[in-house]
């Protein structure tokens, strides 16, 4: 499908990959970091402010600095992926800590008393219970990742964001609006899918309100 002189579908596919791969990588990195911060008071005191600071770095600056830090070429998509992974980590470490904090202490006590080893407890009890909070964090990270990819257009790696840059060059409002709307729609669809995933992974979270009956 060609629109505004660009092949839209490959651009959209590229946009999805550039936006979601960093979220996935970010999650993989954040799980051990978040667990460490949850466990150790010292790690929490360092990691949480640090991720806060990371998130305040303007995206443009991060994109421009990446080739210097990584030694990559300026047009390499790796620049965008790494930069967005940094943002995802910045958001998700906190989510992991908050998610683990959600687990009631008596549930942990019961888990230990039943004979879980630490890793089994983490995988079997703590992470499943952290899912609702974690998914909420992942949704924020994913949506913001979709808009940040567009900023990558300025360094030539923006997928659908290219519609902006070209639109601006040509003073072509319709193209700019189309780029904006398509990114928005993609982000909303992914957000909705993630929400569904959350429901699927944590069906228990919807089960509330004890039915009134005897003992």
């Amino acid at each position: 499908m060609r629109l505004f002189g660009a092949d839209i579908l490959p651009l959209a596919a590229e946009h999805i990959v550039l936006a979601l791969v960093p979220v996935l990588l970010g999650l993989v990195i954040s799980l051990p970091l978040g667990w460490w911060a949850w466990r150790s008071r010292g790690a929490r005191r360092i990691l949480l402010p640090l991720t806060g600071v990371l998130y305040t770095i303007p995206s443009l600056a991060l994109f421009v600095v990446m080739p210097i830090v990584l030694g990559t070429r300026i047009l390499d998509p790796v620049n965008v992926v790494v930069a967005l992974t940094v943002y995802a980590v910045a958001l998700l470490v906190r989510s992991v800590v908050d998610g683990l904090d959600e687990v009631p202490s008596e549930v942990l006590t019961a888990g230990v008393a039943m004979g879980y080893r630490p890793l089994g407890l983490l995988v079997g009890v703590q992470l499943p219970l952290a899912v609702p909070v974690l998914i909420a964090g992942v949704r924020v990270a994913a949506v913001s990742s979709f808009s940040l990819v567009a900023v990558g257009a300025i360094i030539g790696q923006g997928a659908l964001g290219a519609l902006f840059t070209q639109g601006f060059e040509r003073f072509y409002t319709a193209q700019i609006v189309f780029g904006l709307v398509s990114i928005l729609v993609l982000a909303l669809v992914v957000d909705a899918l993630l929400m569904l995933l959350g429901r699927l992974l944590a069906p228990w979270a919807a089960a509330r309100a004890p039915k009134k009956q005897g003992v």
């Binding site: 008596e106 019961a110 008393a113 039943m114 004979g115 009890v125 228990w204 004890p210 003992v215």
Partner: protein, 343 residues
């Protein structure tokens, strides 16, 4: 059997939770640890499954020093029930109960079907098995907690104030249920509570602890009521221990008086089978008081006397036939005669 020998626990911050505890919880009995908040009950319990390790002294489980055991393995062989149940919110009731068997390597299907049977055992409708804990009442959750602790077939059960968070009516149900279960299962249970009534109701043996972690008295409940060793225990046991002791004294050797009596004009009316139906004084018919059945405790004997309009209680055999009258004085005499503890 759980044996504590000279167990002392000081936490890293210097708090001495337990001074020097020596205590044996016998096989197949409910041993209750009771005492005010902070006296080291939870600490004592958690040393059995190594959630806390003692500073010195040893704890033996069926003769084996627990400090030589791998903690997770040890814990899978010991049931544990806590206040508020601590059920896993993300697992169905059935999967909660199946937790330990699955950890022990049994197949999920097998563990689930055994869990279903356990739910019935603790008095739950097996249909709650597919619900999540949040969909149950507090009392139901606590029952699931008990079922989960029983699921590994552990011979030893640790219970830390399991019924403290539910309302009194539900608590009484749960206590009855535990006693019924225990009569079927005969596990070795170490039960912690701050409620002396609960301790007396459930315990085969009761250990009263004082703050600072010392054992004040270790005795069967009847002895605790009859002969508290000091003011602390007497105060802790409470004011109406005299009344409560009645339920621990059998009325077997109670001297019964004979009917009918003349003089005061009260006549007991019985039917053709010899069962009491009411009292009669002159032309007045008056309802019976409570009736004491052979084999019940002195508590029911005294209640029969106190609630009878004639001032004399009615004792019946197990078929409900009148066997004699109960004078309140006879109850008091027997109570005094049993004041010396048996052990």
């Amino acid at each position: 059997m759980i044996e504590f020998s000279d167990v002392r626990k000081a936490y890293p911050d210097g708090t001495v939770a337990l001074q020097s505890l020596s205590l044996t919880a016998r096989e197949g009995e409910i041993t209750v640890l009771v005492g005010p908040s902070g006296c080291g009950k939870t600490t004592t319990l958690r040393m059995v499954n190594r959630m806390v390790d003692p500073s010195s002294g040893t704890i033996r489980l069926d003769g084996v020093d627990v400090s030589t055991q791998d903690p997770p393995t040890l814990r899978r062989g010991i049931g544990y029930v806590i206040q508020n149940a601590g059920l896993f919110p993300h697992r169905t009731v059935l999967d909660n109960v199946a937790t330990v068997p699955v950890l022990l390597g049994r197949s999920r299907a097998e563990a689930r079907s055994a869990a279903g049977e356990l739910l019935e055992r603790v008095g739950l409708d097996p249909r709650v098995g597919s619900r999540y804990p949040a969909q149950l009442s507090g009392g139901q959750q606590q029952r699931v907690g008990v079922a989960r602790a029983l699921a590994g077939d552990a011979p030893v059960l640790l219970m830390d104030e399991p019924f403290s968070a539910v309302d009194p009516v539900v608590r009484a149900d749960l206590q009855d249920e535990l006693l019924r279960l225990q009569s079927e299962l005969g596990r070795t249970i170490l039960f912690v509570t701050h409620d002396i009534d609960e301790a007396i109701r459930l315990g085969d043996m009761v250990a009263v602890l004082r703050v600072g972690g010392t054992l004040a008295q270790f005795a069967p409940p009847a002895d605790l009521l009859a002969a508290p060793v000091d003011d602390f225990v007497a105060g802790f046991v409470g004011r109406d221990r005299g009344y409560r002791r009645l339920q621990f004294v059998g009325a077997g050797s109670l001297a019964l008086s004979s009917f009918p009596t003349t003089g005061d004009g009260w006549l007991l009316v019985v039917d053709d089978d010899g069962r009491p139906t009411g009292w009669r004084q002159g032309d007045d018919h008056v309802a019976l008081g409570t009736v004491h059945e052979e084999g019940e405790s002195l508590r029911s004997a005294l209640d029969a006397a106190l609630s009878s309009p004639s001032g004399r209680g009615v004792a019946v055999d197990e078929d409900g036939k009148v066997i004699g009258g109960i004078e309140p004085e006879a109850v008091i005499t027997l109570l005094h005669a049993s004041a010396e503890p048996a052990r």
